[in-house]
């Protein structure tokens, strides 16, 4: 299974990309561990996480084709 991870705002600079694909990640908790390994500096930033456009605060099960976004504090308007 493959999921799409999107990084917005300052996080796109920390990750060096706006989009990355991860294989075989079953849950948000698991993804968070992989992200922490790949991008240790991300721990210095505050952000929320969405799965398929819904912001979530809980560990969610991920399935093939899901889109997870890392969202720093908004700055619209």
């Amino acid at each position: 299974m493959t999921i799409t991870v999107l990084f917005f705002g300052a996080l796109s600079e920390v990750a060096g990309t706006g989009t990355k694909f991860y294989n075989d990640v079953g849950s948000l908790d698991e993804l968070s561990l992989r992200i922490a390994d790949d991008y240790p500096l991300m721990v210095h930033y505050s952000y929320r996480i969405s799965v398929n456009n819904e912001i979530t605060g809980e560990n969610a099960v991920l399935k093939d084709g899901d889109e997870v976004a890392f969202l720093p504090p908004f700055a619209g308007g």
Binding site: L6, G9, H44, N53, A69, P73, F74, G77
Partner: protein
């Protein structure tokens, strides 16, 4: 691209088109408009020359739809809620946000417009990067500033 986003600045032509179109709402007696403009702030001796906006487009659509629903539920006299936000680079002095509320009466138009702008600032998934005259940049957040660590 989301219907709520335009590439670059919001053009005066778009604003005047929407004002003309609003004339079809013959049960409305007032329109309130907010225009957000990029300001040439001085930050630590550097001047902002532009802001680059980025957006999570599908979530912008979802959230802007939700904001419009909230406003129309809270202000039953409101006939129309228009939201247009820039994506990409907008220079100092250019418009990056256009909100127009049409309502039966002016009090609802004014209050709904103020509330719409507040909801946009709280909930629209848009990010901004201030670009300075020396080409450096800084990410900002509403109510705070985030510095990128070296």
């Amino acid at each position: 691209m989301s219907d709520y986003l335009v590439k670059g600045r919001v053009e005066a032509r778009l604003i005047s088109e929407k004002i003309e179109e609003a004339g079809r709402l013959t049960n409305c007696g007032g329109h309130d408009i907010f225009l957000g403009q990029v300001r040439d702030d001085m930050v630590e001796g550097r001047k902002v020359t532009a802001i680059e906006y980025s957006a999570y487009e599908p979530m912008v659509t979802k959230e802007a739809d939700r904001i419009r629903g909230t406003i129309q539920a809270e202000f039953p006299g409101v006939g129309s809620v228009i939201i247009v936000h820039s994506e990409g680079v907008v220079r100092a002095g250019e418009i990056s946000l256009f909100v127009m509320i049409s309502a039966g009466h002016r009090v609802q138009a004014i209050e709904a417009c103020r509330k719409t702008v507040e909801l946009i600032k709280e909930g629209l998934p848009v990010w901004k990067k201030e670009i300075f005259s020396d080409s450096s940049h800084r990410w900002t957040a509403n109510g705070a500033s985030d510095k990128l660590l070296p």
